[in-house]
Amino acid sequence: MKQFKDPFEAAFEEQEQSPPESPAPPDDPDAPAAPAAPSAAAAGHDDDDYNLLDPPSTSALPTSSAVSAAAAAPSGAAKNREDEEEEEDDNMDVELGKLAPGGDPDKMAKMQAILSQFTVEQMNRYESFRRSGFQKATMKRLLVSITGSQKVTMPMTIVMSGIAKMFVGEIVETARIVMSERKESGPIRPCHIREAYRRLKLEGKVPKRTVPRLFR
């Protein structure tokens, strides 16, 4: 069964299994035949979207590389974290050519070069990073219970899942920085998370509670 997939990755793999040429599971080398066709079709009229997608790689780089440089030591697999923030394809054949979010081939080539040099642990971590995500149903249920209205659309859920995932990333990376400052190692403990959360609050990345806290 499918587990911990990105919403659009899951949806895309569903689509891949429907064309008759690719009856095999997603990581079969035959799969690239299918994703090449839709992405070629989509690439024609989505050129302006790729301009949107270029900035993520450039703007995500400075922030995440600063964060990840300090986090590299304890985790050991975060060396290429600054490139993991880019939405590039990884070694899994199912995503070859599909994302093409860099748009240009030399970004993809760069990414491929980096990915080919990953160790096994790094590859595992990267795969977890790419495939993990919040379940759409759970997020939708949560949003409905918060807003009290039933009009939670699919784009809303997808956007909220993406934002929440990036937020988790910020917390975990900041917690790793805190750990390296305190020169501790091993699994992240709640005290690191709390310190990371406090720092993020100071930086203003956490929305302040609009409801005033009555009981402190």
Binding site: Q15, L52, S59, G133, T138, I188, R189, I193, R194
Partner: protein
Amino acid sequence: MNASSSGKARAASSSQPSESSSKRKRGIFQKELQHMMYGFGDDPNPLPETVALVEDIVVEYVTDFAHKAQDIGSKRGKLSVEDFLYLVRKQDAPKLNRCKELLSMQEELKQARKAFDVDEEKLAASLD
């Protein structure tokens, strides 16, 4: 001190904003959170209390975010994706870009699926 009291207060005040269901079941995001935290740099097996704490933080974040979006959206009439995007724009740029990516990917997928459905219909019609 501040952190622990805020932890308790967070659990207590989470029932304030959500009128419909004040009881939040533990571990609604647990499995996915574990994979996500590993992907972002934690151990392959994160501590359960860490995961629980991160889940609390994320639920609170989503709650606050959705409330703010609702406030913005109420001025406009109904809640829409635009409200979320507006809030994210104020926060930081990578998130906004990621949201745009996700939305455009979804559009692409919809188009691709629609095109595929049409092809299947044509195929079925031609076979008959």
